[in-house]
């Protein structure tokens, strides 16, 4: 977009966001428009009901966890920079190579994994406990399987991943169990590339 500079004026901190997250100005523009659309009461901030208004997201098995991931702990509103920062995780990894800043770029596999890890780890203790795993499995598999099977599956999953025998999956163990999976491919949204 040729006239990108002028249209970004009304977006607060646009330049910083571009620098930080690696989005192009066009992307930021598009995301701002979307943010505006979702923000029904036009306060410049999103709240949980705004997210839940998206029907498909509400139907998503882990929809509430995804929504929760946008809200930093303790806060109940999301402003535009936080919105963009969360979405920055889903860019393809190589898009950011040139703008690599000293702290870890948003699109590194590590950050993506950490995002996924936090979807499990709701209490933020740095480990996926058996109960948390069970909860996620329940949400995803829900009505199809009996509790017994869910427990067995959770049991087996922890067995496979838990290396230090603490009956919970830490982030390192999580990373290791997914070492053969191309995270970039899985956690990427096409239109953001």
């Amino acid at each position: 977009m040729g006239s990108s500079k002028s249209t970004l004026q009304h977006i607060p901190n646009a330049q910083e966001l571009i620098q930080e997250t690696g989005f192009s100005p066009a992307h930021i523009q598009r995301l701002y428009e979307r943010f505006d659309l979702l923000d029904r009461d036009q306060m410049g901030r999103l709240r949980v009901p705004d997210f839940e208004a998206i029907q498909e997201l509400a139907e998503n098995p882990i929809g509430d966890r995804i929504i929760g991931a946008f809200f930093a702990s303790g806060k109940d509103t999301v402003d535009f920079p936080s919105f963009v920062r969360v979405l920055a995780h889903f860019q393809p990894t190589d898009a950011n190579r040139s703008r690599d800043s000293a702290p870890e770029p948003y699109t590194s596999p590590n950050r993506k994994l950490r995002f996924a890890f936090q979807l499990y780890d709701q209490d933020r203790d740095g480990k996926i406990s058996r109960a948390e795993l069970l909860q996620v499995l329940q949400e995803m598999l829900g009505l199809q399987v009996s509790d017994e099977q869910l427990q067995s599956i959770a049991e087996r999953a922890i067995q496979e991943a838990d290396l230090d025998q603490d009956d919970a999956i830490s982030f390192e163990e999580f990373k290791q169990s997914l070492e053969k999976v191309d995270i970039d491919q899985k956690m990427r949204i096409g239109f953001l590339s």
Binding site: L57, I62, I66, M140, Q149, S152, I153, R156, E160, V181
Partner: protein, 734 residues
């Protein structure tokens, strides 16, 4: 292909001369037979069989007249016709003269054809000075035969006709300028060209369209038949034995119907199988699945063997037409096209791949292109009217032998040498599946959030369509099954089978868990308990008896021999029994699940008493290494879970009464840690070993207020009464 096989069968049984000559094996036999027969009957054969067939082309001057008369007089010569051409004299004279000669020799039945009246190149040589004005010396002939005897058919077309009627047998004797012959050749060529269809742009377009029709049509047929067969198998629960028959029948039917409509039958059968596998695998019984798998593999091996056998026979017995240039270029181009194909296609699909193909992979793909049965079959079934068919067959055989032998043998060392990345087939873990599913949901959610879709949307849509409509129609009891659950079941089944393979003797001799299960179903608690208890006693006594045979030293108070094996047998037995008593445990094939419990009873907290290291020594490693627990990514250590499901506690409580489960572990521990065993002696409130007590402390602390539904705790004395079940009195201090 079936025809080829039939012919092979025929030749192996008999070699009737009346059979068609197109089979090469038969060809060989035929040649031998022919030579034999002719050598036997050579003297007896009538001359008619050996007569030469001639076609004379004359410009009847004096010399041609003599030639005609010589030919007519020869004993084993059959003149099929005489064609006249302008040469020594005009063609009318030539025809007249020929007739005169024939009349004199009394052979006017031989047809005479009138040919070219001018030379093609326009050279004229006047022959009047040699042959006279009329070509035969101008002798007066008042009784010349009438020119009506000349055939209406022209010489050129007559030549072609006669030669075609007697293929390979006619000799052309040309004593005249070869004008007729040249015209015949030209005529052939031009008629061929004239009959060639004109290629218009529409034809080009239709040609391209045909490619898509053939390919996609094949796939369409395949999918159609796949659905039909899936629908059929939905109703075959009462006739399980013929399920494999349906599968084979529908696949072959797809092939045949596609052949009928001249579309790609190979695509049809492959797509049919792919579609079928997903739905049919859920409908048919496990046995049918196994049967189908094995039969198909067997059929494949048989077909391949037969074809290569046939290939070998053909290589040896046919007359090969060898042409260095053609064959070497064919070989060269085979490599080139394959390399190009691999290169282009990998460039196209690499962006979409999780792990793109690098150059080594591509080399491996290109070099590994073996040609085999299909190319041979295609070359061999070329129609015979293709003139160079033999050359094609020879070239195909050379390519096949080269690729199969040289490339096939050399590819393994080559791949190892260049160190191509191999696929690790053991990628499936529940973790990966669960986390990938989570990520997919996340992406789907984020995409909904951002209001844009990618291919996840379509995949999602298709899956929904599949679940809602297709599965309902095609699968017997269609419950939507998550891939996570399916993978979990599959992995558990794999583990179970691995155990059975490695530890066959123990588990197979196990008392039938099913009988225990059936006992469980018995609604009357009283009889159940007694019967079940008796069963348990029997089982344990059997096992104990076996143990006793091997470790008789226990009772003699010698040092315990380090017989891990026997302990493991018992432990496994108990584990399996415990497992069987867990309600609902029969939905999973959980034989393997208790692997981790092998040296520990379920629900223990042994590492609070014994450091895990010691436990490693006892039997865990042997157990683990022996059965090769599949999750080999982590080192095989004992893994006492800090918590375990409450249900696992229950059976332990029951077994508590029988005490045997722990006793061996007691021995285990004692063998490693004799001093601490003694320390744990006190605080026994039911007359049993305190180790047992400690081991089960967790179990007893488990809040389980309601008594276990199946058993009532038996009083202790019952146990001690039974000498076999008494714990061996081993006093480490003595």
């Amino acid at each position: 292909m079936a025809g080829l096989l039939q012919r092979v069968a025929a030749t192996s049984v008999t070699f009737k001369l009346s059979v068609q000559r197109s089979s090469p094996v038969y060809h060989c036999w035929f040649k031998f037979a022919k030579r034999y027969i002719y050598s036997c009957k050579h003297s007896q054969r009538a001359s008619a069989n050996m007569s030469k067939k001639l076609l004379l082309d004359v410009d009847c001057g004096v010399d041609d007249a003599q030639a005609i008369m010589l030919a007519l007089a020869a004993p084993r010569v059959d003149i099929l016709g005489i064609t006249c051409v302008h040469g020594n004299t005009s063609v009318e004279n030539v025809c007249k003269n020929t007739l005169r000669v024939l009349k004199v020799c009394n052979k006017l039945e031989i047809p005479v054809f009138k040919g070219a009246s001018k030379s093609i190149l326009g050279h004229e040589v006047k022959g009047e000075n040699f042959h006279g004005l009329d070509g035969l010396g101008d002798a007066p002939d008042p009784n010349a035969p009438s020119v009506d005897l000349i055939q209406k058919e022209g010489a050129v077309s007559a030549m072609i006709r006669i030669v075609n009627e007697n293929p390979g047998e006619v000799s052309l004797v040309a004593t005249a300028p070869l004008t007729n012959l040249a015209l015949a050749v030209l005529y052939n060529m031009f008629s061929f060209v004239a009959e060639m269809p004109a290629v218009e742009p529409v034809d080009v377009f239709l040609g391209v369209a045909r490619f898509f029709v053939v390919g996609l049509g094949g796939m369409g047929f395949g999918i159609l038949f796949g659905f039909v067969s899936a629908f059929t198998t939905r109703f075959t629960s009462k006739v399980k034995e013929i399920e494999p028959l349906f599968i084979f029948m529908y696949s072959y039917l797809a092939y045949l119907v596609a052949e009928l409509f001249a579309i790609s039958s190979i695509m049809a059968i492959v797509t049919c199988a792919l579609t079928m596998k997903y739905y049919v695998e859920e409908n048919v019984s496990q046995r049918s699945c196994t049967t189908i798998r094995h039969v198909v593999k067997m059929l494949g091996s048989i077909s391949e063997t037969l074809i290569f056998f046939f290939l070998g026979v053909v290589t040896i017995t046919t007359e090969h037409e060898w042409n260095w240039g053609f064959i070497l270029f064919t070989l060269f181009f085979a490599f080139v096209w394959r390399g190009l194909g691999v290169l282009v296609l990998t460039q196209i699909i690499n962006p979409f791949r999780t792990i793109p193909f690098n150059m080594k992979d591509q080399f491996g793909l290109a070099y590994g292109g073996l040609r085999g049965a299909v190319s041979f079959a295609l070359a061999f079934t070329l129609p015979d009217n293709i003139g160079r068919k033999q050359l094609f067959v020879t070239a195909t055989i050379v390519v096949i032998l080269f690729t199969v032998f040289l490339q096939g043998i050399s590819i393994r060392p080559l791949i190892e040498f260049i160190n191509v990345r191999r696929t690790n087939r053991n990628l499936e873990t529940i973790n990966v599946e669960v986390h990938c599913r989570l990520m997919e949901h996340t992406i789907a959610g984020i995409e909904d959030l951002c209001g844009q879709w990618s291919h996840f949307y379509w995949k999602d849509k298709f899956l929904k369509f599949n679940t809602r409509i297709l599965r309902r129609i095609l699968i017997r009891d269609s419950r939507a099954e998550s891939s996570i659950v399916a993978l979990y079941k599959k992995l558990e089944l794999q583990n179970a089978m691995e155990i059975l393979d490695t530890v066959a003797s123990d588990i197979s001799a196990a008392p039938s868990i099913v009988s225990l299960y059936e006992e469980k179903k018995n609604p009357k608690p009283k009889t159940f308990m007694a019967a079940d208890l008796r069963n348990m006693h029997d089982i344990l006594s059997k096992n104990m008896y076996r143990i006793r045979q091997r470790t008789a030293a226990f009772t003699s108070k010698h040092a315990l021999p380090n017989e891990q094996h026997s302990k493991e047998i018992l432990i496994r037995r108990h584990a399996s029994i415990r497992r069987s008593l867990r309600p609902g445990s029969f939905q999973n094939s959980t034989v393997s699940k208790s692997q981790k419990y092998f040296s520990l009873p379920a629900g223990q907290n042994l590492d609070s008493r014994f450091p895990p290291r010691r436990l490693n020594q006892t039997g865990d490693e042997e157990t683990m290494s022996e059965v090769g627990y599949p999750a080999a990514t982590r080192p095989p250590r004992s893994r006492p879970p800090a918590r375990s499901s409450s249900r696992a506690m229950m059976p332990l409580r029951r077994l508590h009464t029988l005490t045997e489960a722990a006793s061996v572990d007691v021995l285990n521990e004692i063998s490693e840690n004799p001093s601490s065993a003694a320390a744990r002696r006190p605080s026994d409130d039911n007359g049993l070993s305190d180790n047992l007590r400690n081991v089960h402390q967790e179990a007893e602390e488990e809040p389980a207020p309601s008594p276990p539904p199946l058993w009532a705790p038996e009083p202790r004395p019952n146990v001690t009464r039974n000498p076999l079940l008494r714990r061996p009195q081993w006093n480490p201090k003595t």
